[in-house]
């Protein structure tokens, strides 16, 4: 699955408009009530309660599969082969996408505190100048998080222009435009970040001593000099490596990079986003490592044929097509030379019978590779035979846990796991759902058992008819009727041609924004979505009648729009239709009641929430798309992660009310906020210049989240 996010939901609000609206509703109701047939659902879902329900979950161990290395082979007694990609600490700097290499999204800065945060003010606003033109209109979702390295604040714009600005003033230092064309935009124009690499063999003043590396949406790796923004001419072809090599027929938009690469011991590791739901015969999900000095292929990991493809496909062949890809951010244990890859599902998400055994083995798994050879060390699967698009989408976070080198993994379905990052064995308890429903479409493929975390989950209890919503009794009634008619057996209801409810939907749980942890306070900070999708499979003949074609058969640019709203899934007997966020056809409002998203602090020892509260107000939402302007907390869908600071604050945008917030880490209370020009669907950062702490967010907006578009990068600090 590809990137990002999805539902935006017009949440709602209660205005005095009520009466007028309630009178308008009956008409639409009458029109819609002739809808398709379906079955009643059952109310009881025996297995889907989160893991606390111990007796329903057989305590089966979730063993990591694959060749398990002896811990000692790669553990700490091995000397570190080289220095980290960025030998600077997080604090004054923000040298990695996730803060430091452990991706904890934690800043040790403590100048801004719950006591003084109310004084926070804008330090500068920088305009990247990258706004959509022509066919890019309505497709921007920048999701950008800059790095701060010394005197440079480095970032990529949605169309992959690399930019450095002064971190104190916002003054532009340089920019490099790789010339990406609009037709390359896959699902959205997104560049979540860049990676930095310090070459240990070069002198301080050498050109490209520190490289800034990005993957582009037209599938190139670009490397420029941090000091000047000039392409590193020794890297690839004049500073660029073409990632279409070995992928096959070049179809713009089908294969794109939206996440920053990960540099481990001189190897740049990247996957790619393969636009979802197009065809079984899609570009490969191959993961590749490139020499950070030269851009030469160091290794390839093709999960279906790892040995033969290790040095690239033989002449005339391509990497194995249709395999699960990694569109989101990896992380790495640089000391041990291991890279952790959160893989998504196979190219066709909602039908699995044609997948190969090896795809089923790896889809929706976290895979650990030896970063110097590309060989697999272990993998850990979070969904068996995934037909829900539950891609792993968050960046894994590294920490020490119970005396072990560990990794914390969050998922779209909400489950949170902590694994030993050397062996892949679960440290927190993993349970097993049994008797999961198999449905009528492919009962032999659907797995009747699935792993669940018995330690912590962001997943809420299953939906009931009472949780159907609306603005008036009439639209609420219509949603209740739909609920009763839809197939719904709780969590993991399998696909059907009749409408069926998928809850949580494909936006999570946790998504690409990932989580933050504060080891001093022993807290895990996670924002999450709490939104169902209403889906149905569309038989091939009907999909053909509707003209649904995969991207390689389209003439002209693909339309924007929510992912899965009509995806052909060519090669499978069914296409898929997704009503993301299950919005009412009457009002455009969600059929389920708020909240649609929240933020929680979880005790890292117990896995229990310390607090859990909705995030986002109703100010931008309302029936028929009319903003209610109500500053009331409702809990909106959200995308983009938090940053936790030693000062005791969480900074987060993410919510679709376009607010940027400072939240008290102890209580979950919002202490300060600022209205952004568009949605803050990006991870904020914190850094320091001349003894002053800054907090910064890219307020780029997001097409799918319906939060507008802007090119503003906004920094905040306390007044002097």
């Amino acid at each position: 699955m590809t990137s990002s996010s999805r539902p935006h939901l017009r949440t709602t609000s209660a205005l005095a408009l009520a009466a007028a609206l309630s009178f308008a509703a009956p008409i639409a109701f009458a029109q819609d009530s002739a809808a398709e047939t379906s079955q009643t659902d059952q109310e009881a879902m025996p297995y889907n309660a989160p893991a606390e329900n111990a007796e329903q979950i057989a305590p089966a161990a979730q063993e990591p599969t694959g060749e398990l290395p002896e811990a000692s082979d790669i553990a700490s007694d091995t000397p570190a082969p080289s220095q980290p990609a960025m030998p600077v600490d997080v604090g004054a700097d923000w040298p990695y996408y996730g803060g430091d290499g452990s991706a904890q999204r934690f800043s040790p800065l403590d100048q801004i505190t719950p006591e003084n945060v109310s004084n926070l003010e804008r330090a500068f606003v920088y305009h990247t100048g990258d706004m959509p033109t022509g066919s890019a209109e309505g497709k921007y979702s920048p999701e950008t998080t800059p790095l701060k390295i010394g005197d440079n604040l480095v970032m990529c714009s949605p169309m992959n222009t690399l930019i450095s600005i002064d971190p104190a003033t916002g003054e532009e230092k340089w920019r490099y435009d790789p010339g990406v064309s609009n037709d390359a935009i896959p699902y959205g124009a997104t560049c979540r970040g860049v990676a930095a690499y310090t070459d240990p063999d070069l002198e301080e003043d050498d050109v490209c001593k520190v490289k800034i590396i990005e993957g582009t949406i037209d599938a190139r790796l670009i490397a420029v000099d941090l000091a000047t923004g000039e392409p590193c001419t020794d890297f690839g072809n004049n500073g660029a490596v073409d990632l279409w090599d070995g992928i096959g027929e070049k179809v713009p938009g089908w294969y794109a990079i939206s996440a920053q690469p990960t540099v481990v011991n001189g190897v740049i590791v990247t996957g790619a986003q393969v636009k979802d739901g197009q065809a079984e015969n899609a570009p490969s999900g191959v993961i590749r490592g490139f020499d950070a000095k030269t851009g030469e292929l160091a290794w390839a990991w093709d999960l279906a044929d790892p040995e033969r493809m290790r040095n690239g496909p033989p002449e005339g062949e391509t990497y194995t097509r249709g395999t699960p890809n990694m569109w989101t951010s990896a992380s790495a244990d640089e000391e041990r030379g291991i890279v952790y890859l959160p893989l998504g599902n196979s190219a066709v998400d909602y039908y699995g019978s044609n997948r190969s055994d090896v795809e089923n083995e790896y889809a929706t798994s976290l895979v650990a590779l030896d970063a110097s050879t590309g060989e697999e060390l272990w993998h850990f699967q979070t969904v068996r035979n995934d037909v829900w698009d539950y891609d792993l989408s968050s960046q894994p976070t590294l920490l020490d846990y119970q005396g072990q080198p560990a990794l914390l993994l969050t998922t779209k379905q909400g489950d949170i796991y902590i694994l030993n990052r050397v062996t892949g064995e679960a440290i927190t308890p993993v349970g097993e759902i049994t008797d999961a429903p198999k449905g009528d479409i492919e009962p032999d493929f659907i797995s009747d058992s699935q792993p669940v975390s018995e330690w912590a989950t962001l997943r809420k209890p299953p939906l009931t008819e009472k949780r159907m919503w609306g603005f008036t009794p009439i639209d609420q009634l219509w949603c209740r009727i739909q609920f009763r008619r839809a197939n719904y057996d709780g969590y993991l209801t399998p696909p059907s041609t009749e409408p069926y409810i998928q809850y949580p939907g494909y936006n999570g749980g946790s998504d690409w924004g990932s989580i933050a942890i504060d080891l001093e306070r022993n807290l895990l900070i996670a924002n999450y979505n709490d939104v169902p999708n209403l889906n149905h499979l569309v038989p091939r003949e009907e999909a053909d009648e509707r003209g649904w074609k995969p991207i390689n058969e389209l003439e002209g640019a693909a339309e924007g729009g929510a992912e899965g709203a009509g995806d052909p899934q060519a090669g499978a007997p069914y296409a898929i239709s997704v009503n993301a966020g299950w919005r009412s056809g009457l009002t455009g409002m969600p059929c389920t009641q708020p909240p649609y998203g929240g933020i929680t602090a979880i005790d890292l020892d117990t896995g229990e929430p310390v607090w859990d509260t909705p995030i986002g107000t109703a100010r931008r939402n309302g029936p028929f798309g009319i903003p209610s302007k109500l500053p009331l907390k409702i809990g909106t869908p959200n995308n983009g992660g938090p940053v936790a600071t030693a000062g005791g604050l969480i900074f987060i945008g993410a919510a679709t009310d376009n607010m940027f917030r400072a939240i008290d880490m102890k209580t979950g209370e919002t202490l300060w906020s600022d209205v952004l020009p568009a949605g803050g669907q990006a991870n904020p950062i914190s850094y320091e210049v001349d003894g002053e702490q800054y907090v910064l967010i890219a307020a780029g907006g997001h097409h799918f989240m319906e939060t507008g578009v802007s090119d503003e990068i906004i920094a905040y600090k306390l007044p002097k």
Binding site: A18, P26, F29, S33, E465, R480, R484
Partner: protein
């Protein structure tokens, strides 16, 4: 136009009450039919019953019968109890349950003077 006497006897109320009456009938009919469907699907009985009550309220309003107020007040009170039972103090969850029924309640209460006048008129006609 009929004679004054006949008009007054059939609908001794003004246009405001009649609009409200028809809104209640329309709203109630939709709720009733959808509610019966929901009942048949094994869902809540509230909507069917409330819909029926609204239709009756509307019919009585049309006749200028003060009983409409009492019936609607009962529906409204039952609605509040039901809403609390389903969703408690979750205010957002109460938006569809409490908001428009309360708006209608206010409108119905505003009809009291007109309905009282209509009742007096009718009583006066009966005495003659």
């Amino acid at each position: 136009m009929a004679t004054d006497g006949i008009t007054k006897r059939r609908a001794p109320v003004g246009w405001g009450v009649r609009i409200l009456a028809w809104v209640c009938i329309l709203f109630g009919a939709v709720l009733f039919s959808g509610g019966v469907w929901l009942m048949a699907l094994g869902g809540s009985w509230y909507y069917g019953i409330a819909g029926l009550g609204l239709v009756i309220t509307g019919a009585l309003l049309n006749r200028g019968n003060i009983l409409a107020v009492w019936i609607y007040a009962a529906i409204w009170a039952a609605t509040m109890v039901w809403a609390w039972w389903e969703s408690g103090s979750d205010l957002w969850a109460q938006v569809p349950r409490m908001l428009s029924p309360t708006v209608i309640l206010v409108a119905v209460l505003l009809c009291i003077p007109a309905l009282t006048r209509a009742g007096q008129t009718r009583a006066g006609q009966l005495r003659h």
